[in-house]
Amino acid sequence: MRTFRGGLTIGLAIAALVAAAAITYERYDTRTLKRTVRRGDVLCGVNKGLPGFSIPDDKGNWTGFDVDFCRAVASAIFDDPTKAKFVPLDASERFKELQNRKVDILSRNSTWSMSRETNYDLYFPAVAYYDGQGFMIPRSRNIDSALDLNGSKVCVQANTTTQLNLADYFRANNMKYTEMKFDKLDDVVKAYDSGQCDTLTSDASQLYALRLNLSKPNDHTILADIISKEPLAPVVRLRDDDWMMIVKWTLYAMINAEELGITSKNIDEALKSKKPEVMRLVGTEGAYGEDLGLTKDWAVRIIRHVGNYGEVYDRNVGADSKLKIPRGMNQLWSAGGVQYAPPIR
């Protein structure tokens, strides 16, 4: 009886181990790059329509910062940005669809936070865009710091982290405010536009988009102060390191290219450069791309087809776009911002 029970326990334990191993094997996907190459395209989960980040036109052509990042990954692998295929995903389904392997990568204005990595078995390789909560004010108020907002009537969307951050910020800085909260963002904007509030608070990237729809956009400005951390990053599945490295270094190649002054316009000139840092990035010295499972000219492909970080920023959300968001924190670390890429060497 005793031996039978012992045998049963051991048997069960072995069965459990095998099952666990099988589940682990299934649970962690390590073949995204191979599958992507075999299929011949990169499947990108994107926002269904967010101006500046990802939005399709009436012919189904996608544009935006997040869209261009996916094209950069496709360019690095296939030397062809059209190999990026876009799968619009809702906020609620995005992480599940990535886990279900419906997409290879999420490039969908997703905030990187600890619990999103730990709870979903996902990985955020690097920050593509530093967003955060800010304040829009009428230009006529003539203030240039959020610390001057004491006593303001603040328009805010109800039941959001935005509302909580607002309360924290004013309390921390010993300031008073009157909250004007609305359930729908449209109503928040309407209230502000009709002069019911002194300021409107939301994520900065959103404030610039909302400003376009005000009755007199140029009468309003967005303060430089950012009061919360919303680091937007691409997302991949955990433990698929080969794929994660490609996504991470695609972004870093774009940031390094801007820092080195390499653009889609002067990329051929850069191939003749004798500067070691430039040579390593464009692959005329070393073969750093091959260690990623790509080619020596991987970064050249990205820059030629999509451009460097600054070009992508300016075209989609910055000076050359409708939004005209100043570079702010997304400026290079060497030029007043915090965008910083480890070196390629």
Binding site: D144, S145, A224, I262, A270, A319, M329, A335, G336
Partner: protein, 197 residues
Amino acid sequence: MTKLRHLVWMLIATGALVLSTSQGFAQNRPDADEPGLIADDSYELDPEWQKQVVYYRTNEAPGTIIVSTAERHLYLVQGNGRALRYGIGVGRDGFQWQGLVTITRKAEWPDWVPPPEMIARQPYLPRFMAGGPGNPLGARAMYLGTTVYRIHGTNRPDTIGTAISSGCFRLVNADVADLYNRVPVGTKVIIRQKPEL
């Protein structure tokens, strides 16, 4: 006296304008200096070039000026992660320089004496032009170290955001007057260039 001065510069300006139109267009003047043209004060700058407070992280002390020629921006450091940013016009290719200087002199409605090397390149320019609204130096000038370069105003607000000057940094008149009132002689000016390949 002011009337006489006014008359003199009007005459010079007219002369310069005639000269510049007769020779200038044929030569396709590279720097678009237009002595005599009265600045259009109502010209509205693109938002990118409008004066604004922006996020700016730096180790430099508040009050320092940082010029980023690649961006066409001039930053006046405010501290606390902020800077006042102005849109500027910068030197065309071959007329860009980098380094640390200080403001050695300030002048309102400065006279313009194009340096000899500039005259050699652009012989159609006047040898002297008294300060005033038609003067390419605009409303204010801040002289940089012992160089021939200045931070100055302009009578061509449409050239803000471009690289066409002979190495000076130009702001629209309202902005240069604003900056002038904020910075004393002795202010540190750091000029940053785009990296070379």
